[in-house]
C-alpha cells in the first residue's frame, strides 16, 4: 500500500471578516490524483496558497512524508517537494524552455563556472521525454501554446523532483485534444509515484482522472469520497449543500417590452455570434465556466472591450457603445467582476467612490459642491445599509460585503435602465447577499433590465428569469426559469 505523501491537518486561515479556510484537513497518497472541488469562494485557492507558501497559515500543520514541515515561503514549499501549477501560468515567456525548466539552477561547467547549455538542454529534453513531449528545449516559451507551456511547468516540477504537484484549473484554456494529452501526462506522473491535487470546476473531468474527491464549501471541509464510490450528483450536492429557494428571494416582476437587443456579437477567437434580448424588469443570466466568454460578453455590453462585429438596440433604437462613458450615457450600468481592481478606487473614501460615476452632477460649475457630494453619499450609505464609521473612510478599510454595496450604489446613482452585473455576491457574507438580491428585485420592479453573469449555480438558477449557457464563446442552450437543475446546467456548460 502506498504511504501518506502529504497531510494538511486542521488548517485555518482568516482574513478580516472572513474565515477563508476553517479547520480543513486533507491527505494525499503517493501515486494518486485527489480531485479538489468546491464553488468559487469555497477556500480551495487559499488552501493551495498556504501549501505553496504564498500565504501564512493561521493554525494547523502540514506533514510531508509523515514529517512535520514548516512552509513559510514559496521556497520552503518547493524545497519540500511541492510544485504548484497555477491557472494563470507563471512561465518566463521571454526565456527558453530549458531556462524555464532550470530556473535559477542552470548547470555550470566545472572548469569555467559558466552555464553548461548542452547539459541544460539534454536534461530538459529528458524531463520532457518523460512527458512524451517533443518540445525543443531551445524554443522561446512565448512561442508555445498554452498546453505546451503547461507541459514546461510540469517538466519544471519533475526536474525539481516534486513529490506533490498541484494543478489549478489546468484545462480551463485547453482544447479537448490537449486536455486528453494532459491526462496522459498526469497518468505518467502517477506511475512515478507523484501525488497530484487536481482542482477543476469541470466535474466530468475530475471523475475521469481522480482516485478520490475532496469537497470544500464556505471554507470548510465537507468530505472526501473515493471517485469509484460516488457520482456527480452526490458531489454537486456536497458542493452546494443547500437546496434552491432556501435562501433566494422569489423575484417577481412584470416583464414589459424589450429593453436591449444584442445581435451577432463577435470578438474574434473569443465569442461568436452572440444574440439575445433582455426585457424590462427581467433578469437574464449568462452562465459559463472560466474562459467560456461570459465575461467578454459583459464587457462588450458596456464598451470596455472592442468588438469585431455586432449591433445593439436599446429601446428599439440602434445604438453603438464605444466605451464605458458612452454606455453610461445610454443608461447602462456595470458591476465588474473584480471589485477591488475594477469596481472601486481603494484609496478613495466611501464618499468619493459613491460619487465617481456622477462627478458631473456634483454642482453646476467647475467646482465640486460638498453638500451635493455628501448628500449623495449619505443617501446610499443609508439606502444600502453600508456599514462604515463615516463617509470619509477609505473603502479599502471596509469589508468585502460593504465594498460591494458601494460598487452597487455608485452605479445606481446614475439611474441605469440596463444593469450588467458580474459575480455580484462573490466572496461576501450571507446577510449582504440577501441585501443585494433584494436590491436587484427592487430594480426589476422598477423596470430595469438586468444581465447577470455568475458562476454561482444556485444563484443564477434562482434569481434569473432565463439562463443562457455559454461555452467556447457560443450560446449553447437557453433554460427558462425552473427548466434546469444544477446538474444539467453544469453539464451543458462543460460540453465543448
Amino acid at each position: 500500500m502506498t504511504s501518506t505523501l502529504l497531510k494538511m491537518s486542521h488548517i485555518c486561515k482568516s482574513y478580516p471578516g472572513v474565515n477563508a479556510v476553517d479547520d480543513v484537513s486533507i491527505d494525499l497518497y503517493a501515486g494518486e490524483v485527489l480531485g479538489l472541488m468546491g464553488e468559487n469562494g469555497a477556500g480551495k485557492s487559499t488552501l493551495i496558497k498556504m501549501l505553496a507558501g504564498a500565504e501564512k497559515i493561521d493554525s494547523g500543520e502540514i506533514y510531508i512524508d509523515e514529517k512535520k514541515v514548516d512552509i513559510n515561503s514559496p521556497k520552503a514549499s518547493q524545497d519540500n517537494g511541492v510544485s504548484v501549477i497555477h491557472q494563470e501560468l507563471i512561465t518566463m515567456d521571454t526565456l527558453s524552455v530549458a531556462e524555464n525548466i532550470f530556473v535559477g539552477q542552470l548547470p555550470v561547467k566545472k572548469a569555467t563556472k559558466l552555464i553548461d547549455w548542452k547539459a541544460a538542454r539534454k536534461k530538459s529534453a529528458e524531463a520532457l521525454a518523460l512527458l512524451h513531449s517533443e518540445i525543443n528545449p531551445k524554443s522561446i516559451v512565448s512561442s508555445l501554446s498554452i498546453y505546451e507551456k503547461q507541459i514546461v511547468e510540469v517538466a519544471k516540477a519533475i526536474h525539481k523532483n516534486a513529490k506533490v504537484v498541484v494543478m489549478d484549473e489546468p484545462t480551463a484554456a485547453l482544447s479537448e485534444k490537449d486536455s486528453k494529452a494532459l491526462f496522459t501526462v498526469i497518468k505518467s506522473l502517477k506511475k512515478q509515484g507523484v501525488g497530484i491535487i487536481y482542482i477543476s470546476h469541470r466535474i466530468e473531468e475530475v471523475f475521469q482522472i481522480s482516485d478520490r474527491i475532496t469537497v470544500m464549501r464556505d471554507g470548510k471541509f465537507i468530505g472526501t469520497k473515493p471517485t469509484k464510490g460516488t457520482d456527480q450528483k452526490e458531489i454537486i450536492s456536497m458542493m452546494i449543500g443547500r437546496e434552491l429557494n432556501q435562501f433566494f428571494p422569489e423575484i417577481k416582476s412584470e416583464k414589459k417590452g424589450v429593453m436591449m437587443k444584442v445581435s451577432d456579437l463577435n470578438i474574434n477567437g473569443i465569442i461568436e455570434n452572440i444574440s439575445f434580448e433582455v426585457k424590462k424588469g427581467e433578469i437574464l443570466g449568462l452562465f459559463g465556466l472560466v474562459g467560456s466568454g461570459c465575461l467578454n460578453i459583459a464587457r462588450a455590453l458596456i464598451g470596455a472591450d472592442d468588438i469585431d462585429q455586432g449591433e445593439f438596440h436599446i429601446n428599439g433604437k440602434k445604438t453603438s457603445i464605444k466605451n464605458p462613458k458612452n454606455a453610461l450615457k445610454n443608461k447602462i450600468g456595470f458591476i465588474p467582476i473584480d471589485r477591488k481592481n475594477e469596481g472601486l478606487t481603494l484609496d478613495f473614501s466611501v464618499k468619493q467612490n459613491l460619487t465617481l460615476q456622477c462627478i458631473d452632477q456634483l454642482g453646476s460649475g467647475f467646482i465640486i459642491q460638498k453638500s451635493i457630494e455628501n448628500s449623495i453619499a449619505e443617501k446610499w450609505v443609508k439606502k444600502l445599509d453600508i456599514k462604515t464609521p463615516n463617509i470619509e473612510v477609505k473603502v479599502k478599510n471596509l469589508s468585502g460585503g460593504n465594498q460591494q454595496k458601494i460598487v452597487l450604489g455608485k452605479t445606481l446613482e446614475t439611474n441605469p435602465e440596463i444593469l450588467v452585473i458580474v459575480e455580484p455576491t462573490r466572496g461576501i457574507d450571507v446577510g449582504t447577499k440577501m441585501d443585494i438580491y433584494k436590491m436587484l428585485e427592487n430594480l426589476c420592479k422598477n423596470g430595469v433590465a438586468i444581465v447577470l453573469v455568475s458562476t454561482d449555480v444556485p444563484e443564477i438558477l434562482s434569481i434569473s428569469n432565463r439562463v443562457l449557457v455559454i461555452s467556447n464563446g457560443k450560446i449553447r442552450k437557453e433554460f427558462k426559469k425552473g427548466e434546469a437543475n444544477q446538474q444539467e446546467l453544469l453539464h451543458e456548460a462543460s460540453l465543448n
Binding site: 464605458p324 453610461l328 481592481n341 484609496d347 465640486i368
Partner: protein
C-alpha cells in the same frame, strides 16, 4: 479622521524639516535670514516652482514629464531669437509663440502617452532630447541677448514690493490647488492615478484628461522659461539644464507618489521650499555648486525611500 491625521502629519513633518534647515542655516550664515537673501531665495525657487506645481498634477495621474528642462531651454531660445530679428513681431505675439512652444510639446507628449499608450518616462525623455537639440540648432549654440521691458517686468518687476516671479508662483499654486483639490477635473486626476481601470469603467474619459495635463505641464515650463529670460537677459540652449531633476525632486519630497493617486499642492510647495532653502543655505555657507548636486541626488533618493517605507508600513498594518 485617520485620513486627515495622516495628511497633517505628512505635511507637518515636511514643514518641520524645513524649519530645521532654516535654523541650521541661520547659524552657519549670518546673511541667511536677511531680507535680501529671503527675497532672492523665494524669487529663485519661483520659476522651477511653477513647473513643479503643474507636474504635481501629472504625477498624481501616474504620469511623469522630464521634458521640462528642455522645454525651458527651447522657449528661451525661441523667444530671444524672434526678438533679435531685424524686424521683430510685437512682444505680446513673441510671448504667445513662446508659450505655444511648451504647449505644443505637451500636446505631442500627451498624444503619445494617452493615445499611443507609450511610456511617459521614455516619451518625455525623447521630448527632452528633441527640445534641447532644437534649442541648440535654432540658437546655433549661442546665447542670444534680450533686453526687453515686458520680460524684464515679468522677472524683475514688483507689485507691492513683491517680486513678480513670486506672485506668479503664488497665483499658479492657488489656481492649481483649486483645480486639484476642489474641482471635478481634479477628482478625475486622482481617480485616474489611483486606479485607471476603475476610472475608465466609471465613465471617465481618461485620454483627454491625460493630454490636458501634459499640455499644462508644457505650458508651465514655457512660463518658467520666460521668467528665466528676464532674470538673465539672455535666451540660451543651456537654460533649464537639470531643472527637471530639481522639479521632480521637489514634487516627490512633497509626498506625491510615483505610483499615482496621492499628492497635494501644499506638499509640493513644501518640497520646493525645502530644496530652495537647502541650495541657498549651502551656497551662502560656502558650499560649491558641484557639491549641491550631490545633496539634491541624496534628497531625491530619501524622498522615494521614505515613500516606500511608508507604503510598506501601511500594507503591514
Amino acid at each position: 479622521m485617520k485620513i486627515i491625521g495622516n495628511k497633517i502629519t505628512t505635511n507637518m513633518s515636511l514643514f518641520a524639516f524645513l524649519g530645521f534647515l532654516i535654523i541650521v542655516f541661520s547659524f552657519t550664515s549670518e546673511h541667511f535670514l536677511g531680507y535680501y537673501n529671503i527675497i532672492s531665495l523665494l524669487t529663485n525657487i519661483s520659476y522651477s516652482g511653477i513647473a513643479a506645481i503643474v507636474l504635481t498634477l501629472v504625477m498624481i495621474s501616474r504620469g511623469l514629464d522630464i521634458s521640462i528642462g528642455g522645454v525651458i531651454g527651447l522657449t528661451t531660445v525661441v523667444v530671444a531669437t524672434l526678438y533679435s530679428q531685424p524686424d521683430p513681431f510685437p512682444v505680446w505675439l513673441i510671448l504667445i509663440i513662446g508659450l505655444s512652444t511648451g504647449t505644443l510639446v505637451g500636446l505631442l507628449n500627451g498624444w503619445c502617452i494617452a493615445v499611443m499608450d507609450m511610456d511617459p518616462i521614455i516619451t518625455t525623455l525623447g521630448a527632452m532630447a528633441i527640445t534641447r537639440g532644437l534649442a541648440y540648432v535654432i540658437s546655433d549654440a549661442q546665447s542670444i541677448l534680450m533686453f526687453e521691458e515686458t520680460t524684464d517686468f515679468i522677472s524683475n518687476g514688483t507689485i507691492f514690493y513683491i517680486p513678480m516671479p513670486i506672485i506668479l508662483f503664488l497665483i499658479t499654486a492657488l489656481i492649481f490647488s483649486i483645480i486639484l483639490h476642489k474641482s471635478k477635473f481634479g477628482r478625475t486626476i486622482y481617480a485616474i492615478g489611483a486606479n485607471e481601470a476603475s476610472a475608465k469603467l466609471s465613465g471617465i474619459s481618461v485620454k483627454p484628461v491625460k493630454i490636458i495635463l501634459y499640455v499644462l505641464s508644457g505650458l508651465a515650463a514655457s512660463v518658467s522659461g520666460i521668467i528665466l529670460i528676464g532674470q538673465t537677459s539672455v535666451g540660451m540652449p543651456q537654460h533649464g539644464l537639470g531643472t527637471e531633476l530639481e522639479v521632480i525632486t521637489a514634487v516627490l519630497l512633497g509626498g506625491t507618489a510615483l505610483s499615482g493617486g496621492k499628492g497635494t499642492i501644499y506638499g509640493t510647495i513644501a518640497g520646493v521650499l525645502i530644496l530652495g532653502v537647502l541650495f541657498n543655505g549651502l551656497t551662502i555657507s560656502g558650499v560649491r555648486y558641484v557639491h549641491l548636486q550631490i545633496f539634491q541626488g541624496i534628497l531625491l533618493l530619501v524622498a522615494v525611500a521614505t515613500y516606500e517605507i511608508k507604503t510598506r508600513n501601511e500594507v503591514a498594518s
